[in-house]
Every structure is written in C-alpha cells, then in structure tokens.
Symmetry: C2
Subunit: 473 residues, 2 copies
C-alpha cells in the first residue's frame, strides 16, 4: 500500500520543519519523516542548548553549582523539543512519520521504523537530513571519555578538565562557556589559528581572549594517544610532545559529515559531490525535478538560519510559484557565540581575492576600545568592526564584527549590503550613544576622511582597478 503526498520532507530539523510547517500551513498535504528527535541539531544538540549554556554560564556566580547549570540546559532543551514535537504531531495537513527514509525511485521512498517498512510517494521531496560530527581516532581513549555536540548536552556533571579537539565555531563557543563554569579547558587543533573561517584579525582577537581566560589552545597539533590510567592525553606538535593530565572529558569538534549514506540517492538519480554534498540550484532544486535539498546537506549552508532561508525559498517555489522570488540566494551572515562574539557577512577573504583587484578595496578597521566610548565603559579589549568597501564608491563588500553584541549588529550590514547602501549614506545616520553601533559611524567617517581630501587619487585608482583582474597584480 503506497501513500501519496504533495510533499515529503526528510528530516525534522529546523530547515525541514520550515518547509513542512510552511507548506502544511498553505494547505498542502505534507509528510515529515524523522529518524531521531524532532528539532534536529539546532534544538537538540546545537544552537538551543549551546546558547542556553552560554547564557547561564555568563550569569554563573560564585556559590552556584555548575552541575545544576548543565542539568538546566538539558531541561530547557527537552521542554522545547517536546513543544516542537507536539506541533508537528498535531498540525493540520501534516503527517509526522518516525523512521529512516530511503529512495527507491526518484519520487518514491521506503520508510523503516522498528523493522517495519512502508512506501511513500510525492510530487516533491525535500532532503533535509543535516550532518553529524566528524569523529577522530585517539588510540587508548575510552568511549566514555568522548563527547561530541550530540552527547554534550546530556551530561549531568560539568567536567573538571575538558579537552576540546578543534578550534572552530562549536569548539570555541563551548570553550568560553565551560571556562566560566570553573572547568579547566584545554584546546588543540590542526588549524594554524582559531576560527579559520574568519579573517585573521578575528582569530587574533579570539586568541587574545583565550589567553586572558587561561584557555590554552595548541595549534598545528594532533593527539597521539591517551593514557587512561592517569587520565592523560599525549599530543604532538611538530617535534614537541605535550602531556595533558587529569583530563576527564574530550569534546571532539573537528567538523561535520553530511548525512547522505543511507538515503539511496543513487536510486533517485540525485547528483552529489564528495566535497560539496548534494548539488542544488539557487532555489534548492537538485538535478532531479521536484527533488530539493536544503541545509547542511547542500554546499552553501551550514547554519540554522541559512537552512531556514533555503526552506522558505523552497516553500515559495513549490506553493507560491507566481510570487516574485530573487534569482540569487540571499546573503548569509554568520555568527559565532564566543566571548566576544564574531559575526560576518559578505565576501570571504578568498572570494575577495578571487573577484577583486586589491587596489579597488579599502579596508577600514575601528576598534571598540579606542574608537567607541561603549568599548571604554564596558572594558572591551579585543573587539572591532572591519569593513572592506570599494574605494571611492563606498559600496560594502564584507563586514566582520568582533564584540559583545556582534551577532545583533551584523544585521545592519546585511541590510546595507543587500540594499547597496554605501558608506556615504551610512555616515548620515545617527546611532544611539554610547553603543557599539556608533563604531559603524566611525567606519563611515574613516572612509570619508581617506576619500574626500584625496578625490583625484581615489578616482584614478578606482578607474584603474575597477575592471582589473584580481591576479594582474
């Protein structure tokens, strides 16, 4: 017996839920299939518990019990999961199905739960199965000492000495949070610097903050072995051997692996790339018409907000095709909730180097400590706004903010860039005093001071480099 749906969504993470709830709300008959917990990574093992932990850790005071904090994180996570499960189980037009889905044909799935299989067909299928932590092998390390983001928020005791493998977003967020709970935190990574996906200036700021808080990060370092009898981890950094002792937990945060293996994508004829995942056009559609992919399984998006944005575009494409929809994907900002936060939007350093001659770019840096009174009142030592703009025109190509409220401030730049609002116009705005945002005014001010008194030079450089090839210089 085959059931037919207008749309089947595989994976009830935030991207999948956006599509399923969105389409069901518009009256489409939708099936939502989930192998594990409703809410996906974000609710269960990602954004929600990690930000709850970050918030509680920030307000951790002497006399509190860190174990209570980690338990409260689990409690709040479970409460949200229950609420979301309730929503998908009781929504009109939405059939929630627990089980693992596998393509048997381009528009046909077999869903298995507790050994029982059923067959489903649909006009549209949306793949939103996400990703899981990449594991590494450390000889001698017993499984009970290993944590990933998938097990981290089920612990009932705050570790005494937490070793974190990796120096990316998850690794840094957890390092700053657990340090505040009184946990000794040591990090190591193969990377040359923390937060390799950011500009080097952001890494420098984060490194300075790690140092200040006594969190040691060994870069260019791998694990050799673990001596469980002494709870020691032996690392190798070039010729040097480093022994970390008294380690009770090791959090592995060295990247993510897309959940594609068990989907039977070959039966559907969906094209994948070993490095990039499922290949999609800007509307999330794969090479197979009516089969979409969003979120972690695609090349462009590894954030909840980008998965949601892709999901909204898929909803519009499927249910409201007559409404105008931008051909290009929107700008995806990113944010790391370390302390200070790091947020960015626009071209990466690599993209800037690929698309622009360096002579056309003006980089402006404003440090909160010296150029924003709020940085002074709040004692911010490592925080800044860096903007790369086209010289003369003031068009913004990239912005990175490091600071206590960077994740909120970045949306100003997302709006400015999306609407092509130049630094000249940004200079005319008034920003409340004293805020970090008044640093945005300084950025515009610095740009004007470098441009207006040297208009001849700036015009010449603009004309010279405007169409110059990136590598001609």
């Amino acid at each position: 017996m085959t059931e037919h749906f207008s749309t089947i969504v595989i994976g009830a993470g935030s991207g999948g839920m956006t599509v399923a709830i969105g389409l069901a709300g518009l009256g489409r008959k939708v099936a939502l299939i989930e192998g594990h917990h409703v809410g996906g990574d974000c609710t269960n093992v990602g954004c929600v518990p990690s930000k709850t932990l970050i918030h509680l850790a920030k307000n951790f005071k002497p006399g509190m019990n860190p174990d209570d904090i980690v338990k409260e994180v689990t409690r709040k996570r479970d409460a949200l999961r229950d609420k979301e499960t309730e929503v998908v189980q009781h929504m009109d037009n939405l059939t929630f199905i627990q089980g693992m889905a596998k393509f048997t044909a381009p528009k046909t799935l077999s869903v298995t739960h507790n050994g029982v299989s059923r067959e489903l067909t649909a006009d549209n299928i949306v793949i939103a199965t996400g990703a899981r932590p990449r594991m590494i092998d450390i000889p001698g390390l017993p499984p009970e000492m290993v944590l990933t983001n998938e097990s981290l928020f089920d612990i009932t005791n705050a570790p005494k000495h937490l070793v974190i493998v990796g120096a990316g977003v998850i690794a840094l967020e957890m390092a700053f949070a657990f340090q505040k709970l009184g946990t000794k935190v040591t990090m190591f990574a193969l990377d040359r610097r923390p937060l390799m996906t950011s500009i080097p200036e952001a890494s420098e700021a984060i490194q300075a903050e790690l140092d200040k808080r006594g969190i040691t990060l060994y870069c260019g370092t791998i694990a050799k072995t673990c001596d469980v009898s002494t709870h020691s981890l032996i690392l190798q950094s070039g010729e040097e051997e480093i022994v970390l002792s008294g380690v009770d937990k090791v959090l592995v945060a060295v990247g993510r692996v897309r959940n594609l293996d068990s989907l039977g994508l070959e039966q559907a004829g969906v094209k994948t790339d070993p490095r990039l995942g499922i290949l999609v056009n800007s509307f999330g559609e794969t090479n197979v018409k009516g089969v979409y992919a969003i979120g972690d399984v695609t090349p462009t998006s590894a954030f909840t907000h980008s998965a949601n944005a892709q999901g909204r575009r898929v909803v519009q494409r499927i249910a409201l095709p007559y409404l105008p929809i931008a051909k290009k994907e929107p700008l995806f900002p990113n944010a790391t909730f370390s302390d200070p936060e790091v947020a960015a939007v626009g071209l990466t350093e690599k993209q800037l180097a690929e698309y622009c001659h360096p002579g056309i770019i003006k980089r402006i840096r404003v440090d909160f400590k010296t150029h924003a009174d709020r940085g002074y009142t709040d004692g911010v030592e490592n925080g800044f706004i860096i903007v790369d703009a086209v010289r003369l025109t003031g068009q913004i190509l990239h912005a990175t903010i490091v600071g206590p409220r960077a994740s909120e401030m970045i949306s100003f730049f997302t709006l400015a860039m999306s609407q092509k609002i130049s630094l000249y116009k940004i200079y005319r705005l008034v920003y409340p005093y004293p805020t970090y945002s008044s640093g945005i005014l300084k950025v515009a001010d610095f740009f004007m001071r470098e441009t207006l008194p040297n208009l001849g030079r700036e015009i010449a450089a603009y004309l010279k480099y405007r169409f110059a090839k990136p590598k001609s210089n």
Copy 2:
C-alpha cells in the same frame, strides 16, 4: 584687547567638542570655552559614568564590595576626562579657554575666569551649554542626603537604601544598576507610568522588570517631607501617605533645565522660547546669522548622539558649505540603558496620532519570549519589537525595541527608515540564528501574513485612509 576667532564654541560637552575639534581639524581658528569640566555631562555626569556603572553592576558577583564598584566608576570617568582635556588643550588651531561666557553683542563674548574678563569676537558662535538637573524642594531633606546625576558619580559608598525621584531615563538606568549592587531601591514620580516618553507597552515591560527585582515604584506620588532623625521620607499618593524608612540617599532625576540664564542671549538678539529653549533651523542656526545652537539647549535634542549629529551638521555648514547637506535633520533614535534596554526610532505616539489616520497604520508586535528562540535560551520574559507600518506598503513609521540588546538593534530600523526600506524587503534578509534580530524577520513575516491573503481588503483600506485626516475618525 579683543581676540578674534573664526568660530567660538561655548561649552565643551560632546556637542561642543564635535564642532570645535571638527572645525579645528579643517584648519579653522577655533576657541572652545568651558566653565566647568571638559567632556560636559556625557563624560562627567552622564553616559560614560552611568554606562560604566551599568556594566560593572551587571558583572557584580557575591563577595565583591559595592563601594569598590562606585570608586572604579569615578576612576574611569576621571581618566577619560583627563584624556579629553588633554586633546582640547593640545590640538592645533584650537584655543581652549576656561571661563564663563556672556554675549555683549551678537558676535562678541565676554569670558570671565577667577574674576578676570577678556573679550572675544568670532564670525560664528556656537552655543552648546547643555542643561542641568531640575531640582525639587522636599521640606526637611538635608542637602547631604540629596544626589543628582551631577554628584552621583563622586560618591565613595554605595547607598544602602536609595530613593529615586523620577521615573525617566536616568532614574530607571540608575535604579536597575544600584539594585544589582545590593542597594535597596525605591522610586516615586508624578508620572502615571515609568518611561513616559516611550509607548505604554515599553512602560509595562519595564514595570514588570522593576517588580521582578523588588524595586518599588510609586506613580502619581509626591514627597511631603523628610524626617531626618529617623531617615524617613514621607510621600503622598492621592489620599494615601507612604513612609519610606532607613533612607540614606535621595537621587533627584525629574528632568533638566537648559543652561541659558547667564549667557546674555538678549545682547545677542537670539530668540528663545520658555518651553523649547533656543529656536534653531534644521542646520542649527538661530535667528541671528552666524550664531548656532546645538544639543540640550535646542528643542529637538537631549541626547549625546543627537548633539553630535547636530554638531556635525554645523561643522559642514560652516566649513564645507559646498558639500550637499540634507535639508531635514536626520532621524534621532533614542535608547534607555535599563535592564532590559528600551530603544526607539521614528514617530512618537503623539506624532502618529497627529499625522496619520489610525486606519492606515498596522501595528506589529513580536515578543522575544514566544517568537525568538534567543528569548527562550536567554530567559527573556519582558521584551519585544513593536513596529508601526503603513498598511499595504509596509513602510515603517516607528519601531520600539525592549530587550537585552535593543540599543544596538535599533540602528537596523534607523537605516531601514532613512532609506525607506519596506517590510517586504526586510522579509528577504537572513538573520543569524539564534539572535534577537531574528525577531525582525518575524515582524516582516507577521505583516506579510496579514497583508498578502487579504490584498483586496488592504488595498481598499489603504486607498480609504491614505489621505484621510487623522481626526476624521
């Protein structure tokens, strides 16, 4: 002997310094006259020490000594004051003059210091003398128990029981900060609700947070007398008498009085209004050509950032008259650094009622607790974004944000409103998850959900009310 300058600025507060440093930097011969401390209210008795206190209070932990906090506030304030004094005393083209200035003719000032007077003349004179706290008389209250924002940041001990008169910006900021230091805080005011300058929804949120923290606010209440022998303050609220006992300090924060009396404005022929202060056009120029006024002495601006913005316009008007300058003053956002923060931009409720028929306005409210996961993870109970937009078009007329990062988020709306970016365009942006800013997306989402499925109704209402008179209904 008369000295002549291109421009004389009276008052070295943030507005005056913006003009003086700006013009001196452009090569003009400038005199800057100050009767008290360089830095004005902002550096000495306003934004800087208050935000330092707010920051330190937020991070106050059991075991710390609150007296150390208030002393640290004074230390940081003094350090910034010294730095700013250094700047104005050693800048090229800038002559810093300590003394009290008084007009003797439209472009002539007499400046007196320690009984010695000198005469100065200038092509342009900028009045930036600011304001001082309004005082009230409470019978029996000894002067040593009275504080204003001018004496508050010189105290060396945190009060045990601080009574605050007033329920506006300064009163609320200090109430939330001192409560965190362990001070018992009681407030009373004639106002019907806290933060009367905001929309009532913001007052409700602030009232709820005051209640949560055990800060009692008596509205519609005046002080009758103080019994100094028992350190009691006796209040009158309608028929009821309220006795506050064990009071050690009373902070008076009931508004501000413009510093105009000793300026000799009648000698200059500068027009003033008893309620509005010095009357100026949108470029800050008074009825006397070449005589400008900015900041607290003018009708439109009572914030450091608006004084600065006015100052920048005056600099441009005097030194760069050939550069284009918008005829209208820019939008002035405002921010109150209470906990949560309150920030707003655009038309006030009164202006909305004056300029728009209620039928043309759609009010959207998004609560962080229920509509933003960051509100959930961070346990925000009273926080929201409220936007008033023109129905159908989605043009934003006003936004108020209450929340932990409202003062930074408001600049997004300042930009959107200044550039006339509608909620339709704001809907297309991607906001980092989980942030409070994702509530902005919800605002746009709610607007679309109310508009798109009811287009006929919305178009009809838009056409009907677009040019309708505000009071026709």
